[in-house]
Amino acid sequence: MCGFCGSFSEHRHWSAGPLTAARQGAVRIRIAHMAGELAAPAGVRLTAWRDRFQLTGPTGKRELATDLASIWRAVDRLGRAMPDPLDDAFFDGLEAQAKE
């Protein structure tokens, strides 16, 4: 039970999805990998760490995040750029990889 609001339900970010508990751990690792792909141009690395995500910026500074929303806030603080999936740099980076 939440000690603050008395709610019995634990908050789950939508990105946890409708997945079974057994799959949550594997999906967290996969999210770290795929969000890491999006954060890489900003110089930020992501790893799944216990039930959280660990982010390491280009200077070596680290932060922990609980879900994808907090991951992107941390990437904005740590990274050398703010990744944008509608930006030319996003398309250029992925399309260049496709040609490799």
Partner: protein, 342 residues
């Protein structure tokens, strides 16, 4: 706190004078609101003639058929909590649904955000339908000049056109074209003054099911609003989609007005597809549904403001294709990796 199932919350919205209170009154008189608590904000006239009685801070009246009507002072969150406490404490008649009649100048997005994200409301409520009333006599002017009216259309699951009997010839067709361009997700219907069909009844009025939603665009006085359809032909890797969508909403949430669609998750095919739904940066918790996905993959309508929707579609397709390439590459190298480990 009770162990009861979450209470369904339906939202009735529409610009000033669209006929919200009249519809609630008609539904109540027809007995369609039995077991429903109606929450009316302060700007609208309460749809009951009985004298209101105070109930633990909420002004509440009761229809003869058992519908509970409450007037709120504008703080809907506090009013909802009070209503739920009163229900749990047996201070009001039991109800299974709450119908919120918003102010005519309300942007329903903030209300929906509260329902979906508030830690005290979220476990106790479940969002039902958003029904928006559009006055056919004033629709072109209102939609061109009032941002709130456009926001009410964007949030709608069902749009009901009112006052057709007073409108010019061709008003329905014109309104359908404009409203359909703003929100291609919503079902559009006429609502006569004698129509007592409950638009919140899932069985009485089905939302339009579009097998092939189409992209559209419309210019309002304030904004360029356009929509597109994200399609993927096979089950989608949830981690890929969630990573991409969360970054899109983090960066552009205020301008991604609405998303709604259906998607089959790779590895979860046996549970059926999930409904993907968001209003601005707020995403509803995805839930499995019984209906089959249109193409066994994903089909999601996106309504955006001041963003070229083709760019959103290109981004979605580019990232999912990138993830598939990465997957294939990993699978190709697995024998070599296993050999090194061995």
């Amino acid at each position: 706190m009770t162990g009861d199932a979450p209470v369904i919350v339906d939202v009735l919205t529409g610009f000033l004078g669209a006929g919200k209170t009249s519809l609630v009154r008609r539904l109540a008189e027809a007995g369609a609101l039995s077991g429903v608590a109606v929450l009316v904000n302060e700007y609208a006239a309460p749809p009951v003639d009985q004298s209101l009685m105070g109930l633990s801070g909420l002004k509440a009246g009761t229809f003869a058929d058992g519908c509970l009507c409450c007037a709120t002072d504008g703080d809907l969150r506090a009013s909802l909590l009070q209503l739920l406490e009163n229900r749990a404490g047996g201070k009001v008649r039991p109800f299974t649904r709450i119908l919120i009649e918003t102010s005519g100048i309300a942007d329903p997005a903030s209300l929906l955000a509260t329902l979906v994200s508030d830690p005290m409301l979220r476990p106790r409520l479940r969002l039902g339908r958003v029904v928006t009333l559009v006055d056919l006599c004033h629709a072109p002017t209102t939609l061109a000049e009032q941002q709130e009216a456009v926001a009410q259309i964007v949030a709608a699951d069902i749009v009901l056109f009112t006052k057709a009997d007073m409108a010019d010839e061709g008003a329905v067709e014109l309104a359908c074209a404009v409203v359909g361009a703003i929100n291609p997700i919503a079902a559009l219907r006429e609502c006569s003054p004698h129509d007592n069909t409950d638009p919140f009844d899932l069985h009485a009025l089905q939302p339009r099911h579009r097998k092939a939603p189409v992209a559209s665009a419309v210019h309002t006085h304030h904004h360029h609003i356009a929509s597109t359809v994200l399609r993927w032909p096979s089950p989608v890797d949830w981690a890929v989609f969630a990573s991409w969508l969360s970054l899109l909403l983090h960066r552009h949430g205020p301008n991604i007005l609405r998303m709604k669609g259906i998607m089959t998750i790779a590895g979860e095919e046996q549970h059926g597809p999930v409904v993907i739904q968001s209003v601005r940066h707020i995403v509803h918790m995805p839930e499995h549904v019984a209906q089959p996905a249109a193409n066994g993959g994903a089909e999601i309508v996106v309504i955006a403001r001041e963003i070229d929707p083709a760019l959103i579609r290109r981004s979605f397709e580019t990232f999912l294709a990138h993830a598939e390439r990465k997957n294939r590459s990993t699978e190709d190298h697995l024998p070599q990796i296993n050999a090194v480990i061995a």
